[in-house]
Subunit: 518 residues, 2 copies
């Protein structure tokens, strides 16, 4: 399997069909392929050799997609970076991956002076749009001068992309994904969602994230149409769906919530929408019900996975989304294993547990990464025994539905009992004065760890430790209730992806002590 095959197929079956819509700029698959293969030629002319790393630091655009296919076509490795990260994080990634060529869009240019002096092997910076800082090349200039080149012919287990992950766990790790990883993932995802007609797909989530990046491959394979939004803005998204009759999109539940709360959803004709792929977490049944009501033509598909699994491990099909339907008991699950993916739940000794028992979710299949870039030990540990150990705790019911309970590292082990931080947080969130909370394990001489809650109250509200404990005792077992509560008045530390950095909350308590996972 190789992602360039999908591009060639799109040209064969739909040469004059619309490949990309970016604002007022549209192009056919014939034009798109010509530009991508010329850009591949330009990259090779700049010195790109097989497996050279080329980074993209850009908002969503048609040039992003051109670049993605050009790098693969030229035989390089794509490194999509999160433009929201701080310059030191980006410098770390650029150096770690040994990036030789960097493409940036206009929004990233102001950061360049903070990046470039610190990046060691960088040979060229290509500016995708706007004016040209010194010592950079203009995307359209190098494209205009280039000639198309033949497909470098890479595929199968060859690495085609390195996606950085690990914002919540410390040192970022480069996840090496192969051609087969990306194509097989697209196939299994399509098998759930595709209905036989090419999509008009809106890239509304950031393309540097695997959740959207997977659809660069999956929509091209169909010879469908890619529509781009530079970044997610609820009303822009609604207007774009109406204007281009968008059929499919991918979002996280927070974005769905923002669409519904925009107050604008009734102002637009969204009847073209046939499918929405959401992930990152399950949606609350109430949010699902509201979404189904607001978007009656749109089927919902929850994908569960991670960058290391390219990303889909399991999917909750639309038919399990009716809160009042036959399958309502499945609505809080992450669905069933993808068609080519083997999913098991293992205990601490890597033995498979019985249906219903909680353990670590382990995955095997053509979608599992080749490893972490330049991190053989972390790779060997994550892939021990041939299984990707996801670090997620969960269980599988007797119908093969997967339920995610917590991140392994967030489980508090107190007196030999596992306390799942997510369960305690769910209880705390039911208190009306709580805006944000995080439950962590802190060291305790008697119990090993004890349950500690960090709370940010809602603006203008107050809450005491005693009130919170009383609230929790009504909802969960005593051993799960916090032993201590910290009322915090500054915001939580967040990762680039907006997740609470529990590692940072835990750090002061564990100084000089060792925790088994961190």
């Amino acid at each position: 399997m190789y992602i360039t095959q999908g591009l060639k197929r799109a040209v064969q079956v739909n040469r004059d069909g619309i490949a990309t819509i970016d604002g007022e700029h549209q192009q056919t698959w014939g034009n798109f392929a010509e530009r991508a293969t010329k850009l591949a030629g330009a990259l090779q002319a700049l010195g790109l050799q097989t497996e050279a790393r080329v980074a993209i630091l850009s908002q969503n655009s048609d040039r992003y997609l051109e670049t993605f296919y050009a790098i693969a076509w030229a035989g390089g490795i794509i490194v999509p970076l999160n433009f929201r990260l701080a310059p030191p994080e980006l410098v770390y990634m650029l150096n770690d991956a040994g990036v030789q060529i960097l493409l940036v869009d206009d929004t990233v240019k102001p950061t360049l002076p903070e990046l470039l002096p610190h990046v060691k092997n960088l040979q060229h910076v290509i500016v995708m749009d706007g004016n040209l800082p010194p010592n950079t090349l203009a995307y359209e200039d190098i494209l205009a001068r280039a000639a198309p080149v033949p497909d470098a012919g890479r595929g199968g287990d060859d690495v085609v992309a390195i996606f950085y992950t690990g914002g919540t766990t410390g040192i970022p790790k480069g996840v090496m994904l192969s051609h087969t990883n990306l194509v097989s993932n697209a196939m299994t995802a399509l098998l759930n969602i595709y209905e036989g007609e090419p999509w008009i797909y809106l890239h509304s989530a950031p393309m540097f994230h695997i959740a959207d990046a997977q659809w660069m491959v999956g929509v091209t394979m169909q010879a469908g149409t890619h529509v781009f939004m530079p970044r997610f803005i609820p009303e822009t998204m609604l207007a774009t769906i109406e204007k281009y009759k968008v059929t499919h999109c991918a979002l996280v539940p927070t974005m769905v919530n923002m669409l519904l709360n925009s107050g604008k959803i009734d102002h637009y004709d969204l009847s073209s929408l046939r499918g929405m792929n959401y992930g990152g977490s399950p949606m609350a049944p109430a949010l699902i019900a509201r979404t189904r009501q607001a978007l009656p033509t749109c089927r919902l598909f929850q994908g569960y996975g991670q960058t290391e699994t390219a990303p889909n491990v399991s999917m909750l099909h639309d038919k399990y989304h009716d809160p009042d339907g036959e399958y309502a008991d499945k609505i809080e699950s992450a669905g069933q294993p993808m068609f080519t993916v083997e999913v098991i739940i293992v205990d601490a000794d890597d033995k498979t547990v019985s249906p219903g028992e909680i353990g670590e979710i382990a995955v095997r299949g053509p979608n599992v990464m080749r490893g972490y870039w330049n991190k053989p030990e972390e790779t060997a540990y994550a892939l021990r025994g041939g299984w990707m150990h996801t670090g997620d705790m969960g269980y599988m019911d007797s119908d093969g539905f997967l339920y995610i309970v917590d991140r392994l590292k967030d489980v508090v082990i107190s007196g030999g009992e596992n306390v799942y931080s997510a369960e305690v947080e769910a209880a705390i969130y039911q208190h009306p004065a709580v805006a944000v909370c995080a439950v962590i394990g802190i060291p305790d001489e008697q119990w090993g760890e004890k349950v500690h809650a960090v709370i940010v109250p809602r603006e203008g509200q107050t809450i005491t430790e005693a009130e919170l404990l009383e609230h929790c005792r009504k909802l969960i077992a005593g051993y799960k209730c916090p032993h201590s509560v910290e009322i915090r008045h500054e915001p939580m530390p967040l990762s680039g992806a907006g997740k609470i950095l529990k590692r940072e909350l835990r750090a002061p308590y564990w100084e000089g002590k060792s925790r088994s996972v961190n």
Copy 2:
């Protein structure tokens, strides 16, 4: 990718669902997996080691499917054989593949004395049903004594099956198919046909042929239901569809014709049928129209391919089957390339030709075989340059639809012009007195080859060479018309699969002379 994953998934998601229906015998996925993994244990106890070849010589049955998965689970290689072949052909294949264990059903047992004395490495014969000849083992006995074993853990490029092909070309060749070949083929086929609900699939075509064998994998991946008919009998098929509410089946056009001509199609409720996968050749538009009328709930999907491509290269989706519809011009094509398969048309120098130009169809993708068993030269030639050279001549239109023109070896090259035997035959078949015909190239000093037609008249009809030539001249160009006609009164020589053996028709003319392809 590995086919055992599909079995494990079926047990996870549908343990109590019906896996197989064979006459009155039904079993759940839980039971099926238990039997298959016990049979794997029995095979290992009999001495089966990794990559040992195990042949199946049987009509369709649930035990056939159990055996297929058991061999894969145990780490062996499955060799499905055509029970219609003559004993010397079977002996050749059993020896060529070095088969150690042979499974046979009751219908094959009478042939055993003609086979066994001539097969060299055979260690065990397992009898799947009926009474027990000397020195054989009973399937149910060894199963009852065995314990389940763990999955041998093979997958990816590991060979899991050897399918014999080459009935029309001389020495049979063993096509080595890997786990990835079979699973990726099932994925692309499902992407065309699957609608989100598990199938009730009827194995009506022989399971030893890749056209049906592919659905052993594709239906198990869905955790669907396999229904078995020992062999194709039109009315039995109709009754089985009604009785078990069969949703999908795979047939060749001849079988479809037999169903329609059975006079029984109105006697049964066939409204459960949602999809039919047919292959081997396109269906005539008139036959398509009749099928659509007789089976209005059933979508039609033509697969084009060959054993070497596991098998699907392209598929004509149901929507292109309406003879009066928007896409009526595509109805005689073999459809568009599968989602993960690259298809090109090349000239004799392996250069890609333009859309519309005829050349040899070449294929690359995860479905392309690992090679021919023990035939490195034939493998290198077929896969030269990394492309499977199908030996089929065809062209691709500007929408990516593939049209098959002829087998490369059946093209008559006369005075430098290519004459496609299939085109000449189509003209001859329009004469009402012709029952069967075959057009071949025979040597000619002046032209290299000349066009020669072999005709079997319909019973009670006569036709002269002059009449036939006059008929052809009205329909096709002069240089395509036969230079000579042979009226034949005995049946054509046929392969095991029922194809006319043109090689045998050509042989007497070419004795002592060499033809570039044969």
